[in-house]
Symmetry: D2
Subunit: 355 residues, 4 copies
């Protein structure tokens, strides 16, 4: 009988197999900031998920994340016939193990209502019980009173918005006015909502991306089809819960899933340049210059709409070196659109390659 100790509290080396070790995610830091890889929306058997809370820690550890929030539904607890409702249970079960696993655990809960306003994650709370209120407004107020960061979840979820398009209802506007929505999910599991990028810029909100996993991360995001789960990249001053919170309120985030990055250009642009390095010309023929671009990150970049006389498109595959062959007749700037870095619902990042 091989009993799996899900508590990472093992008094020696955690695991000796590759699968048990912490993956290194190749995601660059930005100047002045450490990049925290976060999944701030997860469920367990304490609401409608199917795993024990410690599994969420083990998954995060193996996946190379820095931060998770377990955010069971407050108002939807279908297993209560067998598991008595305890909205703080996941936190209590996981808190010590998170410390031993060098993971930042965020105390959270999901305020779960019909649309509007839909589902809202309260993050950095101290007691989920106090969020049990008849009025969603009171529930959010209680969370805010605990210092919570409020994240509007899956605003275009088809069970609540059949056309898949997020809509700002009066209650959302009211919450926004009070500062009671601080971020919105652009990615939720395998969905994304382009308009959120515009709203986050307009209303000064953090762009968020999370798995909202109810079942098994490794089954929902199988390798090699998926390189990782959806996640929020938070640019924090330090790798601490306090810095994380500061950075979220300051909206210093990007989101990443599959080969797409979303977020504000002020973070997307340095993220791109921190991911790549452009080598010197290593060879010249009579007509061409040859140089290489190295992309050390786990994110590929698809450069399109190149200038006349230069390559029309360039794919900088993840963890790879790409050779560029440039006509000597070309003397302009190597400007491209990065097709897979969205900075608005109809806008992608523009970059320039200096060789």
């Amino acid at each position: 009988m091989k009993r799996i100790f899900l508590s990472i509290l093992i008094l020696s080396v955690v695991c000796s197999g590759t699968h048990g070790q912490r993956r290194i995610l190749n995601i660059p830091d930005l100047p002045g900031y450490v990049t925290l890889k976060c999944d701030l929306h997860l469920h367990t058997v304490f609401s409608d998920g199917s795993v024990w809370p410690l599994n969420r820690l083990a998954e995060a550890y193996i996946n190379g994340l820095d931060v998770i929030a377990i955010t069971d539904h407050i108002e939807y607890t279908p297993k209560k016939e067998y598991i008595p409702v305890d909205l703080n249970a996941a936190w209590k079960i996981s808190e010590a193990s998170a410390k031993e696993g060098n993971l930042i655990l965020v105390h959270g809960a999901e305020i779960t209502r019909d649309m509007p306003p839909g589902h809202l994650n309260a993050l950095f709370i101290t007691d989920a019980d106090e969020l049990k209120k008849d009025s969603v407004y009171d529930a959010v107020a209680a969370a805010v009173a605990q210092g919570a960061f409020i994240q509007w979840n899956h605003p275009g979820w088809k069970s609540q918005e059949p056309d898949g398009i997020p809509k700002l209802y009066p209650i959302h506007k009211k919450l926004l006015e009070k500062g009671w929505i601080n971020g919105i999910e652009f990615f939720n599991s395998d969905e994304y909502y382009p308009v959120i990028l515009d709203w986050c810029r307009k209303y000064n909100l953090a762009v968020m991306g999370n798995s909202d996993e109810h079942n098994i991360i490794s089954e929902s995001y199988r390798e090699p089809e998926y390189s990782s789960r959806p996640m929020t990249l938070v640019f924090a001053k330090e790798r601490t819960s306090e810095s994380l919170k500061e950075a979220l309120f300051a909206q210093r985030t990007l989101v990443w899933f599959k080969d797409m990055i979303g977020g504000k250009p002020e973070y997307a642009k340095p993220f791109f340049y921190a991911s790549i390095s452009i080598g010197k010309v290593f060879y010249e023929s009579s007509r061409y210059r040859y140089f290489e671009i190295t992309n050390k990150s786990d994110v590929p970049f698809y450069l399109v709409n190149g200038p006349a006389g230069a390559p029309g498109y360039i794919t900088l595959a993840a963890r790879s070196v790409t050779r560029i062959v440039l006509s000597k007749a070309f003397t302009g700037q190597l400007s491209y659109d990065v097709r897979n870095i969205m900075t608005g619902s109809e806008e992608v990042l523009k970059v320039e390659l200096k060789y």
Copy 2:
């Protein structure tokens, strides 16, 4: 939010992705019998496992199994602070879904004691509560009174037998005499105990192999490293719970894990011949005859100790055709030992290839 309906009760096609469909295990039937692929030792959050019972059904469905038993510990329920002890809960939660998923669910429980006698699975019970007894003897008696098949689990588990070698203690002999042990695990997760094959022949017991999974099957047995979890192959008259039980008591089993088959020669031999087919000579040169052996099963066969003048060893890879080149001077019998079919602690299956 992509809520996973773990109940397979979905009113349309279950799943549209490959991963959600039922794998076909290429395991042959034996003449007169249908081969049921079974994992009769599984845990959930109702004892020390980490998943909800319906996950065990979903895993079995995707893995192509026919039968599972959920066998939570009776005497070890470390999550009881959050989940009240209910020894029949997994059965109640899963019974209806199993029918809808065309899976045979066996009602079970694990009588969990120090060695001796160690851990015993009671299978085909009707009420696990009745097995809560101070005396292990009384617990087994209560299971037998319900018609249970008693399986001795992981007899060489190092937490209970530090040298890893199963031992027959007086209580085991007493239970055997009364007919209260009906099978023993040869495979338990990634361990196996060769002597069990001898004991099963000597005492007329079924050879058993199970995962004893506490956590996530797909993580414990990752492809392509693992082709499947450990399992018991039961040769039943029909694909029903009753036929399964009859076959288990009649000891018509083999066990399979990775590339190893274990069990009695009366089942191992027809299993080998049902897995392969030997083609006619397709080409003759002046000195050689060429023919092919097709192994349609998911089990490779490693044939060794070939006769003089013939290939010394032949590997019949799973789902593959192997070409044989035989000297025309060879006129004997193509007799081999199948190195990976164990029929005793120091005995492997002997076969002959008729071409």
Copy 3:
């Protein structure tokens, strides 16, 4: 030094590793016919390919094919500075090994001209040297005089048809009138040309699909991204070169690549039904019937446009069992379009599921 014997002439078992054995392709036979898996368009170092001819045999053996044709360009031999032109070299080098490997080797050559008429494979020739003619018409005539089957290759290749759309030029019509085009490629490497399905029906031609590999099959079609290379499925009376030729002239073919099947409905329909089996109802609830469909083949089937009251779409994944849950209120016929079986440029196969 591990010298690789590419000649499969090894005097014992070919290979003991899985990778060296012959894969079983799960492709059904049709009633009265054996299905030959063929790649009838391959290159070697004797024209502009990069490998030795025996590599083509080894690749075919491992891939589970029955038939290959090596069809080096007659008029394009860019390696002639180092390798003297010998249009029959690949045949001479490979013929004996093919017999020893139970592979049918077709003697071929590619008549390589500008469009029109583009490139034409002459298959089942006896001497490629005789096909060296100034006039393409004379070259085809010489091939036909040898009994060749003429295959028009990649009719929409963008190097010759910049818009990617095949066009019938006068010379094609002339060749068709004389019966000097017998098949056309629908698949060529990773391209396909829908209109070919219409032309093959209109002009009574065989639908062909081939890799046209110049480099390394396992690199061009990497698993798991690709399940196999493009191939022609030929429904022959026997597994012989003569039967293959008869079946090709009789146009008894389908083509397969990735998850797409193309060809005439008279073969596509029995192919579908030979691939699947529909089980009996295994469970009935008050409102639903449950049954399973088994697809033993390596081809998935995407059923769409289901009747009202039944599942709208059903995916029958390769080598999988799919559960169907059908309302008892539904009493009609389970008719579907198979989205990935093309029978015309704008037509897919229609099937009915009898449960």
Copy 4:
């Protein structure tokens, strides 16, 4: 028709797919040196290999190597019936493409004799034709006259040494005395010869490791079973052919294959420390200190024989972070043997972890 341009001379980006881009090998530089990843033993159709020379460049490019040598056999040219012997052909065909692909191509040839002395690679030659001599001694002399580095290949190859054990014959001693053997292969394809590590230390020779590939690199070293081909890591002052040669003669090498590193301790030790970084204590409980070790390299390290009171073994998986939990009662040095870094036939590297 998708013609593969094996010449990497493509006038734009080489390839847009991941497979076509240059992999980044995570192998650290050593202080003062750049680590060149080299395979200095490769064959083509110009001797007994099965591919065109440009394929060797394309493979090296994709694999992330810096250097290759094509070393066709001088005295074994079994394809000469079809391909006239030209010992410099591979060099002539590949030289320009290597420059365009930022690969260092070493001009080489394999002096191919019975044992003794067996096979010797002459590297950095200028004309292989001059090495065609009746006497092996003369052949080596001719290579040395061209400034060649002489590498003794696969000294324990079973076709020449049936017991697999390398032996120093008089001719080897004579060559060594004259300085006409400069390196010996420890790794050759999937073989290795432990005694070579001792000989290289005793005779001041470079430890070499190469694939000796005759067929297809991606087929011989399939992922994920193999992380890369065998290779020689050369610690050069610059990434140039001249620096490479200087470093080889100065014996600044390690060899790497699968999870094994071999070589002299003066390079193995800094290689280990350059691969890992040890983090600060991130958590302390009443009894334990917790810290992490990051291994950014593609080489795992298996630390064994730990001191009493500390973890007995630690596996630092490739590209992973490993958590260490250390008793506060432990106050000694964390000294380990690195089981998979061989520095002698019976010696492994010893390291100390400073936390």
